[in-house]
Symmetry: C2
Subunit: 150 residues, 2 copies
Amino acid sequence: MPKIDLDSIEPTNRTGYPPPYDRDVAGRWYRRLGPPSGLTDMGVSHVTLEPGAWSSQRHWHDGIDEFVVMLDGEAVLVEESGETVLRPGDCAAFPKDVPNGHHLINRSDAPCRFLALDVQKGEGDCHYPDADLHYAVQGERYTRKDGTPY
Amino acid sequence: MPKIDLDSIEPTNRTGYPPPYDRDVAGRWYRRLGPPSGLTDMGVSHVTLEPGAWSSQRHWHDGIDEFVVMLDGEAVLVEESGETVLRPGDCAAFPKDVPNGHHLINRSDAPCRFLALDVQKGEGDCHYPDADLHYAVQGERYTRKDGTPY
């Protein structure tokens, strides 16, 4: 059945971020839609941000195109050129290899929901302009920017 | 600017389908969001279906994961296992190489809008269970099922 039964997928707020970077995403609840629906080349996360929650640390990817579309509520997109409110139906794209760190913050007093999609082929490292974090695809782990482990 | 200015992108109802298969999609208006926003590995179409319009002929792809999310209004998803109404926030996934021909039909009396996303890597042929159509990635063209040109 191609239609996805969202209620059948347990949301999680799991994160691989080391402290203190995990706190900002504690109110980020997501369902990964790709694996239960058989997608292997496309990643799809159905995300709810509680008030105050961040979608991630501000970041950009080598090798991964990303796309978001707001479904309900509103969030603030923060990136190098400033801040933009995203409302239902609004879309934003983050081409691979473009060093424009981005994330969404829910500054409203109600939950918001969005979809985040990416291409699961050709993943490279992930870069975090505001946090002492680096994600190395080789080794699949987070380190400090100087490469030392947490 | 990562947020996409939808109004700046001219919608088109262009199709490569030969007659008579072009008629069903005459009321399908779409904006391709990938190229103007710099995405190269992910395809994103922002689609409006007028009442009666089809999203495509019923089809499935070799090599291409596809995903749709309804934004406004409603459409009927038609595929091998039957028909399912999709409403705002509903999602459906079509993994590559799975021979489940699918399309959306707007049987309501108002326009509906949805996003259709795919991965622009590894494209293979496209198969049409209901129409005498075949899309060959080699040659980038539509033929009859027996390979003869229109």
